[in-house]
């Protein structure tokens, strides 16, 4: 059964293949955890049982994924058929049956994603067991872990699905779970607003995905990946022979792209992600690192063969990615809330990934997703530890020198490593993955891609600056801290005044931070494995659907890059190889950024909120610094351009409803009332009046009779 084609055939025949069926556990274990935690909530369990159950089941899911990868990783695509989920037929012809199974399409791209999704989710869940401990008594603990597991289940549906419909289920599912978890503190208006914002902005993107899905079905007559990719290969051959792709194939990527932009927080739909930190910090880590935001990157990477056929979509993806990277970095530079800085850094790094996809280096994008997942989880969980220990304090002007406070060493180291990776410091994982994208941007032919490379390089400098701005401000300088406003009513330190003692992270948080630090550093290692494909991740991408078509599309992306490399190697020039050149350039840029952060924020610093050079610089750069601090007024712009007109329209429609529709209905009811009102005076209760009526009537009848006779 080790022959992949046999398995593929067996699976396509619909017979559950027992040798691969156990892979279904990967999505089903988180679902089981979700259901169990829901039951624990119903039974009113107040211990840490829900947390440990979730950690255990997710860990098992990770082990299953890992062993699955080790057994089948090199075997090409597998289809594991679960059950027929949906089958609607309205004819016998092709394209007249809509069928979608709960089936898994597993190739190396899926393995890559599932490894870090389940792995990081397990670690973040373990972290949450301690972080969420205060909610044990209210029952929020079990609810939290139930949603958490559901999130992982939905993400695995999204990533492992073998058809677009199951992907859509997962897509909407992660949207729902993000709503539930961002709005976890549902009594807090800002959390509810952020949850709604995330959900609604995502809906805008989802519309694009839904339309893309429908058009895919209309054009290809199926939603299954294997058939779509087979058809794409045919179209690819036609294009290479000088033909042109059908307009649908050019349009579908543009629609899918809109969905990806919504889910992965790209311009213009990125506004939900920074607000999403209203949820508990581990949720932010989960959304930013493992689930949700990488879904858009996955979608584009999965359908890269189709994107490769649509130059318009590729160009848009690249430009939007670079634009988002730069914009988010400039906003991140001016924020004071450390979690918010991290949120904008995610938006910015996602921009890099889309830039990578746009310039057809799926390897670079996937590798950046992989390294980013580790270091962003590290950064967020370190921020979470600070927030947890200092009663919700996140303002970098109110915290200083934490590295010197006893008990915070692990957090400081984690933050340092995370920031180094984020800044792309030489030798860290972020360094290799970012450079791969930037180098490709410089060498790939495309509309202004060289400019995008420069933008990306500049953004790398900004990234280094804002990452270390946070690190230097919070962990270095004079020791000073002020508690936040959140009251953690546990063991005794309830006094927020002089008697405030930060409570240093416990074993679970420290363990997870250490694991993630190791992970972030070790994520650089895959770069050196499998040199031929630019690292282990490159190998995985090359053997997936994304790799094959890219390899086939001559004159594009990596193929061209390799040609360039070969030419450079012939001439023997060191700067001829874009990757070597980029290593040097980005090391310099990153180092400058870090140095600037040191100079600006550490020189003459006397207290947490006073850094003379930074303050002077901020005053000097007004109004730009203020604008960046206010996020370039994008939220206000959306408010003015979209929310207010919509609200106005709603008011107008309400008026029309009240005046016209209600008026009509009320009018129908009013007519009998008016008739009754006009008759009412005749019934005045006077006996004589009635008698006159009677007599008059009698006379009238008599007169009529007389007149007729």
């Amino acid at each position: 059964m080790s022959d992949p084609t046999t398995m593929l055939l067996a699976a396509s025949a619909g017979a559950p293949d027992s040798s691969v069926a156990w892979l279904l556990q990967v999505p089903l274990l988180p679902l089981l955890a979700c259901l169990l935690c829901g039951l624990f909530r119903a039974w009113g369990v107040t211990s840490k049982l829900p947390g440990y159950t979730t950690v255990l089941l997710l860990a098992v899911a990770f082990v299953v994924t890992l062993s699955g990868y080790l057994s089948f990783g090199g075997h090409g695509a597998q289809v594991v058929h679960g059950f027929d989920w949906l089958r609607v037929s309205w004819g016998d012809g092709p394209g007249e049956t809509l069928s979608a199974g709960f089936s898994l399409y597993i190739d190396s791209l899926t393995w890559l994603w599932m490894l870090f999704v389940t792995g990081l989710a397990t670690l973040i869940a373990l972290y949450s067991t301690e972080y969420m401990a205060e909610d044990q008594k209210t029952g929020g603990y079990a609810r939290y872990f139930s949603f958490f597991s559901l999130f992982v289940f939905m993400m695995s549906c999204l990533v492992m699905s073998d058809n677009l419909l199951l992907l859509y289920l997962g897509w909407e599912g992660v949207g729902l779970c993000s709503y539930l978890l961002i709005g976890y503190h549902y009594t807090k208006p800002s959390a509810v607003a952020a949850a709604k914002k995330a959900f609604i902005v995502n809906r805008v993107g989802d519309l694009g995905l839904a339309l893309g899905l429908m058009l895919t079905f209309v054009h290809f007559g199926t939603l299954e990946y294997r058939e779509i990719f087979a058809r794409l290969a045919e179209i690819q051959a036609v294009v290479e022979a000088g033909g042109s792709a059908p307009w649908q194939v050019e349009l579908i990527p543009l629609l899918l792209m809109v969905g990806a932009f919504g889910k992965s927080a790209q311009l213009p739909l990125y506004v939900w992600l920074p607000d999403a930190m209203e949820g508990p910090t581990p949720v932010s880590a989960l959304i930013h690192a493992a689930t949700m935001v990488t879904a858009g990157v996955y979608l584009v990477a999965r359908f890269l063969p189709m994107f490769a056929l649509s130059p318009a979509a590729l160009g848009t993806v690249a430009w939007v990615g670079a634009g988002t990277a730069l914009l988010a970095a400039t906003i991140g530079m001016a924020q004071y809330d450390i979690k918010r800085v991290m949120a904008y850094s995610t938006v910015s790094q996602l921009g890099y990934m889309f830039l990578g996809l746009g310039v057809l280096t799926a390897t670079g994008a996937a590798y950046h997703v992989f390294t980013h997942a580790f270091f962003k989880a590290t950064l967020f969980l370190a921020c979470g530890a600070v927030m947890h220990g200092f009663a919700g304090q996140l303002d970098l002007r109110r915290l200083s020198g934490l590295a010197k406070v006893p008990g915070w060493r692990v957090t400081a180291v984690a933050m340092l490593v995370g920031c180094l990776c984020l800044a792309g410091f030489v030798g860290t994982s972020g360094f290799f993955s970012k450079d791969m994208i930037l180098a490709e941007a410089f060498v790939t032919p495309g509309p202004g891609y060289r400019l995008l490379g420069w933008i990306g390089l500049a953004t790398a400098g900004l990234t280094a600056y804002y990452a270390f701005r946070v690190y230097f401000r919070v962990f270095h300088g004079p020791v000073e801290f002020h508690a936040g406003e959140e009251h953690h009513g546990d063991d005794g330190h309830d006094d927020h005044g002089h008697g405030f003692h930060p409570h240093a992270p416990g074993w679970a948080i420290n363990l997870v931070l250490i694991a993630l630090v190791i992970g972030s550093l070790a994520a650089a290692a895959p770069y050196f494995i499998d040199k031929e494909h630019h690292g282990w991740v490159g190998g995985l991408v090359h053997s997936s659907t994304a790799g094959e078509i890219v390899r086939a599309s001559a004159g594009h992306g990596e193929a061209a890059a390799h040609a360039g490399e070969a030419a450079a190697a012939e001439h023997g020039g060191f700067f001829g190889d874009p990757h070597r050149w980029m290593f040097l350039a980005s090391s310099v840029v990153g180092a400058i950024g870090i140095l600037l952060a040191w100079v600006i924020h550490m020189t003459g610093r006397v207290s947490a909120d006073r850094a003379p050079i930074a303050d002077a610089l901020k005053a000097r750069l007004r109004p730009w610094s203020t604008l960046a601090e206010k996020k370039w007024l994008v939220d206000e712009l959306y408010d003015a351009l979209i929310r207010r007109p919509l609200r106005l329209l709603a008011h107008i429609l309400a008026l029309i409803d009240q005046a016209l529709v209600d008026g009509l209905v009320d009018g129908v009811g009013f007519a009998p009332r008016l008739f009754g009102k006009s008759l009412r005076p005749s019934q005045n209760g006077l006996l004589q009046n009635y008698a006159v009526g009677m007599g008059g009537g009698l006379v009238f009848i008599l007169l009529v009779v007389w007149a007729l006779s």
Partner: protein, 112 residues
């Protein structure tokens, strides 16, 4: 009207028309009384007057056509009128007790 009276005198005896005239007069008096007075008892008496007017007409026609049905009918009417009078006067007494007045206007609160 004068033609009718002339006809009656021409025959020199009391004819059907005389009875009908008296009957109509009684009925008209009853109607006028009922409409113009607001005292419940007077109004009730006026309805009795209208009754008698109608009864007289019935008897006169019965005699004219030599058919006893009219007379029998009137006897019935009288009987029922007697019972009804007892009932109506009882009601009037009751109404008087409620409002200490016999004015029909006092009971105009059933206006629509």
């Amino acid at each position: 009207m004068t033609a009718l009276l002339a006809q009656a005198s021409a025959f020199g005896s009391v004819t059907l028309y005389h009875y009908l005239f008296v009957s109509a007069a009684l009925f008209a008096l009853g109607v006028i009384g009922f409409l113009s007075r607001r005292n419940l008892i007077i109004m009730f008496l006026c309805t009795e007057l209208m009754f008698q007017g109608a009864g007289l007409a019935l008897i006169a026609f019965g005699r004219h056509w030599m058919n006893p049905t009219g007379q029998v009918f009137v006897i019935f009417v009288l009987t029922i009128a007697a019972a009804e009078a007892a009932l109506a006067l009882g009601l009037v007494v009751y109404l008087y007790r409620r409002k200490s007045t016999l004015d029909a206007q006092a009971w105009a609160e059933l206006a629509g």
